[in-house]
Symmetry: C2
C-alpha cells in the first residue's frame, strides 16, 4: 500500500470495538510470581482481598488461564462514546524529522479524562455498581486517573473519594475542579483524614506526597468506610486486562492498512499504558509470530525498570498492601518534587516486570524531563495535539528511533502510545517555556535508601 493511500487517521467501526479484553497472563511463558500476604508471605487469596477490592475485579486479578474475558454490554456502550480511538499516521512529524521511518501513534487522549485511564475506570466503576457498593476510593497522581474515575462513577451514579498527590493538587487546581464537576470529593494527600496520612505528615510535614502515599490513604479509607472498596488505575493485572483494548484496536487498525509495527514504544509509570498498547502485539511475540521490539520509557527521576531491583515489595508507601514481585525503587522512594506529570510510581506492573525480566520487553530507557518537554513542544507544533508529559516520554524515544532510521536509511514502522493530552499540564509547560524546568537524577545513595526498605522475601 502506498504512503499516500494510508489515511492520517484509521478508525475502526463501532462494531469492530473488541468485545473481549485480552488476558496476557494466559500466554506468558513464565507467569509473574503470585501476590503475597505481607504478614504470612503466602499467596494471597480472594477472601483476603475481598475487604479491599470488588469481588469481580479480584477474580480478574487472579485469573491466569482465560485468554479472553467478555466486556459487559454497559461498558461497551460507554466505550462507544469515545472509542474506537484513532491510529494516527504522524506524516507531519515524519516530514519535520526527514526520516524514512513510518511513525504511527494510537491516540487515547480524545476524551475528557484526557487519557487512556478511562478504559479501566469505567470497567471498575461498573463492577462496583454491580456489587451494590455505595462508592469507591482511589488515589490520583497527575489527575488523569482521578478524572477518568470521576467520569465513570458519575456515569454509574456511585460515590467517589479521591486522594490526590499533594504536589499535583497544587500544580493542577483545575484537575480537582473537573473531578468535582463529575461529583467526586478530592483530598490532597498526605492528609490528616487517615491514620497513615497523619503518620507520613508527622515524619515529613513538607512532603509533596507520592502515588504510594495516596494509595495507602485510599486503601485505609476504603476498608474503614461501609459499602466502599478501593480501586486502582495502574499496576494491577486487572488494569492491564482492561487496557488491552488499546492494543487490540491498534492491531486491527494496522491490519486494515496492511502494516505491522517493528518497534512499539510506550511510557511506563505503573504500566497501564504500555501494558495496554503492547497487548495484542506481545501476544504475537509470545507465540513466536513476530519479532517486534518493545521499548518501555520511564523518567530518569523515577527509574524503576532501569535502576530498580526485581523483588517482592509493597505497592504503597505505607506498606499496608500485599507484596508484588516487580521492579521497584522501594516503597519509601518518593521522586523529586521537580518532576512534572505522572510516572511517579516506585514500582511497576508485575506483568510488565516479568516480561522485561524475561526479555520480551527488549529495552527500558530512562529520559530527562527537559528533553521530554523539548520533544513534546516539537510534536505539538507539527502534529497539532498538545501531548501529556507522560506520553511525551514515548514521543521522545519515537523521535530518537526515527532519527536513527534517518542515519541507517531503514524504513522502520514505529508505533507509540499517545496516551493523553497535556491540557491540564500547562503549569509544567509554562515552567519549560520560561526556562525554569530542571532535571533530577537520583544519586545511588538516594536509591540505596529506597532499596533498604524492600522486605526480605525471596
Amino acid at each position: 500500500m502506498s504512503k499516500q493511500k494510508i489515511p492520517y487517521k484509521t478508525y475502526l467501526t463501532e462494531e469492530e470495538i473488541p468485545k473481549a479484553w485480552y488476558n496476557i497472563r494466559a500466554d506468558m511463558k513464565t507467569d509473574h510470581r503470585p501476590i503475597l500476604n505481607p504478614g504470612t508471605h503466602k499467596p494471597i487469596t480472594a477472601e483476603e482481598l475481598a475487604p479491599v477490592f470488588c469481588d469481580e475485579l479480584i477474580k480478574q486479578e487472579l485469573n491466569d488461564t482465560d485468554r479472553f474475558i467478555e466486556i459487559p454490554e454497559p461498558i461497551r456502550n460507554f466505550y462507544k462514546m469515545y472509542r474506537p480511538s484513532p491510529l494516527v499516521r504522524a506524516y507531519c512529524l515524519e516530514e519535520a524529522l526527514k526520516t524514512p521511518a513510518k511513525i504511527y501513534y494510537k491516540y487515547e487522549g480524545g476524551n475528557t479524562s484526557g487519557s487512556h485511564k478511562l478504559n479501566s475506570a469505567i470497567a471498575q466503576a461498573y463492577y462496583a455498581k454491580e456489587q451494590g457498593l455505595r462508592g469507591v476510593t482511589t488515589e490520583t497522581g497527575a489527575g488523569q486517573w482521578g478524572t477518568a474515575l470521576s467520569m465513570a462513577c458519575g456515569y454509574f451514579g456511585i460515590d467517589l473519594k479521591v486522594f490526590m498527590v499533594k504536589i499535583s493538587a497544587q500544580q493542577k487546581p483545575y484537575r480537582k475542579a473537573v473531578m468535582e464537576t463529575y461529583g467526586a470529593t478530592v483530598t490532597p494527600s498526605p492528609s490528616d483524614t487517615t491514620e497513615i496520612g497523619r503518620k507520613i505528615l508527622a515524619d515529613d510535614p513538607e512532603t509533596g506526597g507520592s502515588l504510594g502515599c495516596a494509595i495507602s490513604e485510599a486503601v485505609e479509607a476504603a476498608v474503614t468506610t461501609d459499602g466502599y472498596r478501593y480501586v486502582l488505575g495502574s499496576v494491577l493485572n486487572q488494569v492491564l486486562l482492561h487496557q488491552s483494548i488499546i492494543g487490540l484496536e491498534t492491531k486491527t487498525a494496522f491490519e486494515k492498512i496492511g502494516e505491522y509495527p517493528d518497534t512499539i514504544i510506550g511510557c511506563a509509570g505503573g504500566g497501564s499504558n504500555l501494558g495496554g498498547l503492547m497487548s495484542a502485539f506481545m501476544a504475537d511475540k509470545l507465540a513466536g509470530k513476530s519479532a517486534s521490539r518493545f521499548i518501555a520509557v520511564e523518567p530518569a527521576s523515577c527509574p524503576s525498570l532501569t535502576r530498580g531491583k526485581f523483588a517482592y515489595d509493597f505497592c504503597d508507601t505505607g506498606m499496608v498492601t500485599p507484596l508484588a514481585k516487580m521492579y521497584t525503587l522501594g516503597a519509601t522512594f518518593i521522586p523529586s518534587a521537580n518532576h512534572a506529570g505522572g510516572l511517579r510510581y516506585h514500582g511497576m506492573s508485575p506483568i510488565l516486570s516479568q516480561l522485561y525480566h524475561d526479555g520480551y520487553i527488549d529495552e527500558a530507557r530512562a529520559v530527562a524531563q527537559t528533553d521530554v518537554f523539548e520533544a513534546a513542544t516539537l510534536f505539538a507544533r507539527v502534529e497539532g495535539t498538545l501531548p501529556a508529559p507522560e506520553s511525551s516520554h514515548a514521543i521522545l524515544v519515537a523521535i530518537d528511533e526515527a532519527l536513527k532510521c534517518k542515519q541507517t536509511g531503514e524504513e522502520m514502522t514505529i508505533l507509540f502510545g499517545l496516551s493523553g493530552t497535556g491540557y491540564f499540564d500547562l503549569g509544567a509547560y509554562m515552567q519549560y517555556n520560561e526556562g525554569n524546568m530542571t532535571d533530577h537524577i537520583p544519586t545511588d545513595e538516594e536509591l540505596e535508601r529506597g532499596f533498604s526498605a524492600i522486605p526480605q522475601v525471596d
Copy 2:
C-alpha cells in the same frame, strides 16, 4: 433505520472531507448590506482593506457570487489531522431526559485548540504565509481563537501577536501558556502597547476588557507593524466561509445514517459556530428544500440578536474598523465581568444578522449562565465530554427542545453544535460548583448607553 443501527459516532472518511467551502452569500435571498468605510459611508474597497487584511482573504470577504471556493491542498492536509469530526448521537442524554427526540451533536472540540476555531485559523494562516507576510495579529476572548491561531501559525512558521481580553487572561492563565507553547506572544487587553489601549485604560483603568477593545488593539498593531496583517476569528464572511466545513460534513454524515435535522441549534457570539454548523442546511432552506428550524442561542448578558438594533455599526470598541450592518448592542457595550466564557461580542455576523432579519433563522434565545452551567454539568455526567460554556448555551436549548418533545410525544431530530470543550474553563466550573456564579441581565438603561454610540448611517 432502527435506533440501534445508528452508531454513537458517525465519521466520514478522509476522502469525504469537503474539498470546497460553501459561500452562503451566493444563495441568500437578500445579501447583507455592504461593509462601509467609516469616514465616507461608501462601500469599502479591496484597496482600502489591504493594509489590514491579507489579500486573498479580502477577496473571500467580498465574494458574493461563487457558491463554492476550493480548499487549498495544504489546508486540507492540516484538516486531516483532526477532521472529519464526528457527528454524535447523544443516546445517553436522550435516556437521561426520557425524550422521544433524537439528539445529535457535531463535536468540534477534538483538537488542542478545543474548538471549531481551528477550521478558519489554519486557512487564514495559510493565506498570510502565501502572501509572504512575517506575521499576523489577532484578538482572543475565551482563548479558543488565540489557541487555534497559535497552532496554525506555529504550523506554517509565521509570527503571531495575540491581544487577549484581560479578564479572560486572568481567569485562564493556562490558555496563555498553551499559546506560548505554540510560539505566539500574548498581551492582555486593553494594554499600554497601543494608542487605543492607552485611551481605553485612561477612560476606565479597571476594565476587564472586551473582544471589541482587543480587536481595536490588534488592528492598530497590524497596521503599524511591517509585514503584518490582522486576522479575526468570527463575524466576518470569510470566517463563516471556512466554518462551512462543519455543516457540510454534518449533512454528509446525516445522509449516511438516513436522517435530517428538524431543529438546528447553535450558540452565537460573533456567529462563526452557528454560521458554520448551519451552512449546508441553510442552503437547503434557502432553496425551499427543507423547513428545518434554526435557533441561535446567546447569553442574556450580551443579547445582541434578542435585544440589539439592526443597524450599521463599528466592529470594534475603538471605532476604527469599517461599519457592518448587523444586530448590535453598540460598539461601546461591554458585557458584565461576571460573564464566563466567550460570546462577549457586541455585534453579530452580518450574514447571520441578515438571515435572522429575513426570518431564515427562526428564533434567537437569550439564556442565563447559571442555567447554562446546570445543562453543561448534566451533559458532562451523562455524555462524558466536558463542554465549553459557549457550546453549553446550545446544549441548554437542545435539552429544552427535547423536553418539549417529551410533552408532545414528537420524535423530532435535534442537531446542536458542540463547538468546543471546557478544559480551559474550569475556573468558571469551579465558581458554579461552589455556588458563586451569578447572572447579569443588562437593564434597558445599560443597553441605551450602548445604542447611543451607534453611528447614524441608514
